[in-house]
């Protein structure tokens, strides 16, 4: 391991960070496995990690009680899986969007894509029994993530049209357009809240704070396939996103089919963000913090940045969720509060460090 690390270091010093990135990927996979195990074993109830590992490894009599089994396999496991899916979706969406807009500040949460997805989701929650009942009948458990996907797609397309001229994205325009889009989606969401009944209001409030509470296998099944598809698209656009760092024209000259690349990227971001928002509400800042940290560590090569973002995003969200559901046990804190409390100062720190960024 040490010699490998040394080799990776020497290569990185010569400008080739691919070895280093591969090592980091392996490490992140381990971290994710640990975080998941931890998330399964830790909680308000005392089904402990050793009993769990014991139950897996030793045949015969189980150390777990029937109650512990239900807690672990029906409550904690879907929650951990959902946390991994959502964390990976948010982090990869952020990284892809930053590559697409050629800007480290582009994040679905900041530029209004999550708000658009949220509007789609809220519409289904509030109007699901009335105006949108046929849609629910048709799509079943997928209605909510589909609606969020469409909302996110609409916002991303509008944002791209407004902020990008002749292959160049203006950062200031992008951020301002994001504010306008967020406000617009917020206004319509407000309207929905206005017509919602008491039970829907309660649902909406908790959903809006951002939480993995109430994770069920049904939720995992409704969002999982969409997020998995979006994540599977990532490796196919990684090289293209690297070339895009030189600008759209130069990427085209390198042989990248730029229009197709942009379409795939936009749909993938909208799908992943939409599905994540649909099942977990507004969990902010994962999409900006995770890719930024990883760029510092392994550089901006999307072939490694995208999978690394997925792993770290998943691990961080599972860990944050473990904290949020135990820190005030037996009650729990919405995870959105935890990520925002850590992420917002981090975002300010990036702004401080890169002051000239709006002139880019």
């Amino acid at each position: 391991m040490t010699t490998r690390l040394d080799l990776a270091r020497t290569r990185a010093a010569a400008g080739d960070r691919s070895q280093l990135a591969r090592l980091v990927l392996v490490l992140l996979a381990l971290v994710l496995a640990l975080a998941a195990l931890f998330g399964l074993a830790w909680g308000a109830s005392d089904a402990s990690m050793w009993n769990l590992v014991h139950d897996w490894t030793v045949r015969g009599e189980s150390a777990l009680s029937a109650r512990d089994r239900i807690i672990i396999y029906e409550i904690r496991l879907p929650r951990v899986v959902l946390g991994m899916l959502v964390g990976a979706a948010l982090a990869v969406s952020g990284a892809v969007m930053q590559g697409l807009f050629r800007n480290p500040l582009a994040d679905p949460g900041i530029v209004g894509v999550s708000a658009g997805a949220g509007l789609g989701a809220i519409s289904v929650i509030v109007l699901g029994g009335t105006a949108l009942a046929p849609v629910i009948a048709l799509f079943g458990i997928y209605a909510l993530p589909m609606a969020a996907f469409l909302g996110g797609l609409a916002s991303t397309l509008i944002l791209y049209r407004v902020a990008t001229r002749a292959g160049r994205t203006s950062v200031a325009t992008m951020l301002l357009a994001g504010i306008a889009l967020g406000a617009m989606a917020g206004a319509f969401s407000g309207l929905m809240v206005y017509v919602a009944d008491d039970r829907q209001l309660r649902d909406l409030t908790f959903w809006g704070l951002g939480s993995l509470a109430g994770a069920t296998w049904t939720k995992v099944l409704s969002a999982g396939p969409i997020i998995a598809l979006a994540l599977l698209a990532a490796p196919f656009i990684a090289r293209g996103l690297n070339a895009l760092a030189l600008g759209e024209a130069s990427a085209g000259h390198l042989g990248v089919p730029v229009q197709r690349l942009k379409s795939i990227a936009i749909v993938a971001v909208a799908a992943a963000t939409g599905a994540a928002v649909a099942v977990s509400g507004g969990i902010g800042f994962v999409g900006i913090v995770v890719p930024h940290l990883l760029r510092l560590l392994i550089g901006p090569d999307h072939r490694y940045l995208l999978p690394a973002s997925a792993l770290l995003g998943a691990a961080l969200l599972v860990m944050a969720d473990s904290v949020s559901r135990t820190i005030v046990a037996p009650a729990e804190l919405p995870i959105g509060i935890v990520t925002a409390a850590v992420g917002a100062p981090f975002f300010l720190w990036i702004l401080l460090r890169r002051r000239g960024i709006l002139d880019l």
């Binding site: 400008g15 690297n242 070339a243 030189l246 024209a249 130069s250 000259h253 390198l254 089919p257």
Partner: protein, 262 residues
């Protein structure tokens, strides 16, 4: 062979190029000169397939519009006038982007070494580990050239000559590197490829170009070998500046020409 016939380009309502007929052969360095705003860069962008144009452009006999991006990328590499970067890539990572499409034409065993060799060719040996954004303007320009060289490393692939499209490749360089980069480009042509370069320095053009096309107000007003094209009347008409070609300054006045390089 690159040929353009009767190419018009409009940007908005304004017509930038008027009926351009142009040819660039392999084994030749073809320069494009002309005053600011005469349409040189626009024409290069049209050749690169970057902007909409009327008329016909052929890359080795195939119409440009029928080529997919990756097909065009295997036949020519393009160096833009300016490239801004959005993320902290190292120099090696940037140069490696030239290998994106896999058209370098180098042997499989050589490909990993190409970035280093390309950097050496542009006199940036040892810069691979630096961050692109920390380099000077002239160094960045040479990194981009190294990237472009990587893309079409072999001047001829499968018997087909390949081209370098360079938009002001030496504009930010000191005189040593101007000469070095011009030599690298001319060498590419000598080895069977073709080079089309927009240049501002008439002396460098005269020294390195086999052919030159002179742009003026969106038209080509003269084309041919530099010694046939460059004369007092043309320079005065095109550049709106009374200059004499080949005149030596008064004795005692210092002047340095690239032609004097030993």
């Amino acid at each position: 062979m690159i040929t353009a016939s009767n190419v018009d380009v409009f940007i908005g309502r304004k017509q930038i190029l008027h009926g351009i007929d142009f040819e660039a052969a392999p084994r030749e360095f073809t320069a494009i000169v002309g005053p600011n705003g005469s349409g040189k860069s626009t024409f290069l962008k049209a050749l690169a397939g970057e902007i909409v144009h009327h008329g016909e452009i052929f890359l080795n006999g195939q119409p440009l519009h029928s080529l997919k991006p990756w097909q065009a990328a295997s036949r020519r590499a393009v160096m833009a006038q300016q490239t801004t970067l959005s993320f902290p890539f190292t120099v090696r990572e940037i140069v490696r982007l030239g290998l994106t499409g896999g058209f370098s034409g180098a042997r499989p065993g050589e490909i990993e070494q190409l970035p280093e060799r390309a950097l050496e060719a542009v006199d940036l040996k040892g810069f691979a580990g630096r961050y692109y954004q920390e380099l000077s303007g002239g160094e960045q320009q040479r990194v981009q050239l190294a990237r472009v060289l990587c893309q079409v490393w072999a001047p001829v692939m499968d018997g087909v000559p390949r081209f370098l499209f360079l938009d002001e490749p030496v504009s930010s360089l000191d005189i040593k590197h101007q000469i070095a980069i011009m030599q690298v480009s001319r060498d590419y042509a000598r080895r069977g490829g073709g080079v089309i370069a927009v240049l501002h320095d008439l002396n460098l053009m005269a020294m390195f170009a086999d052919k030159v096309a002179v742009f003026h107000k969106g038209r080509i007003v003269a084309a041919g070998a530099p010694r046939d094209v460059l004369n007092d009347q043309l320079v005065e008409r095109v550049f709106d500046c009374r200059l004499r070609v080949g005149a030596v300054p008064a004795p005692g006045t210092p002047f340095v020409l690239p032609q004097s390089a030993l």
